[in-house]
Amino acid sequence: MEKRSFNPEEEAELTLKSLDGISRADAPGALDEKIISSIESMRRGKMRPAKWLWVAGIALMLINGAVAFIYLSPSGENQENTAVSAQQSSTISDVGSYYFSEGGAWY
């Protein structure tokens, strides 16, 4: 049998054609689920701060409301203070009316 002589140029040409007719490599089946799960976890990671911000915001509003209700409602000591100041204002108005009824002169 005749042995073919080794020609580097010819070998290079043949090697250059070795990808002719190449078929597409299939991606591993598990890759889909891997991609989906990493996207899902990314999405969850994205959702978490926003969800917590909503919860924290609502909680803060409720606390604010409660504090305002306790400190501004007229009950207990506050109610007494309110009554005192009402009494004081009525006393002052009495003094005023006395002053005018006596012709505006102080004794």
Partner: protein, 190 residues
């Protein structure tokens, strides 16, 4: 061209639409990454990164090009970034002349076998892939898209956003460089 409603579903974050996209294009992306990176595990990781990037930026997809063109573009850019970061770690003796002619030797121990190559061509294809890894970036992308993905020059123009003569020239120079690299390789093997 993809259905506009499908793109709209993707843009609204519909998970069913994303699964469909994966099913349609996972092999396209994986095969491109495999051809570029020449490493099965790296190609898997890169495919994952490409789809995550697609998920993040699909809102900016303006339907001016085909979805496949956009995916090819994202995949090749990601692969080039990966190759650059890998290259940064090790200085090779590669030199590329101003006209794009490569002055380098095919690295020894390069043993990538593409699963889509016919059995009788496996050994030659291993040497060719090793030679492709020595090409300058643009030539590598153009040649891989043409020969591994089987894209037409027109499609490569759209992916690489270049004019047709530029792509023709890139593929031509890639072939010339590969021929020289392979000739030198076989001469040293003689």
């Amino acid at each position: 061209m993809e259905d506009e409603s499908f793109i709209n579903e993707l843009q609204s974050g519909d998970s069913g639409a994303f699964r469909k996209l994966l099913k349609l294009y996972r092999s396209l992306v994986y095969n491109t990454c495999l051809g570029m990176l020449q490493h099965a595990e790296d190609a898997e990781d890169m495919t994952q990164e490409v789809f995550i990037e697609v998920y993040r930026s699909v809102k900016n997809f303006r339907m001016e090009s085909k979805m496949s063109t956009w995916l090819y573009r994202v995949a090749t850019n990601k692969c080039l970034d990966h190759l650059r970061s890998k290259q940064r770690g090790k200085r090779s003796g590669e030199t590329v002349r101003i006209d794009g002619e490569v002055n380098v030797q095919i690295p020894a121990g390069h043993n990538f076998s593409h699963p889509g190559v016919a059995l009788e061509q496996k050994e030659r294809a291993k040497i060719l892939f090793a030679a492709i890894s020595c090409l300058p970036e643009n030539q590598k992308v153009a040649f891989t898209l043409a020969k591994v993905e089987g894209l037409s020059y027109q499609e490569i123009c759209e992916v690489m956003q270049m004019k047709l003569p530029a792509v023709e020239s890139l593929v031509h120079r890639a072939k010339q460089n590969l021929k020289n690299l392979l000739k030198n390789y076989y001469q040293s093997e003689k």
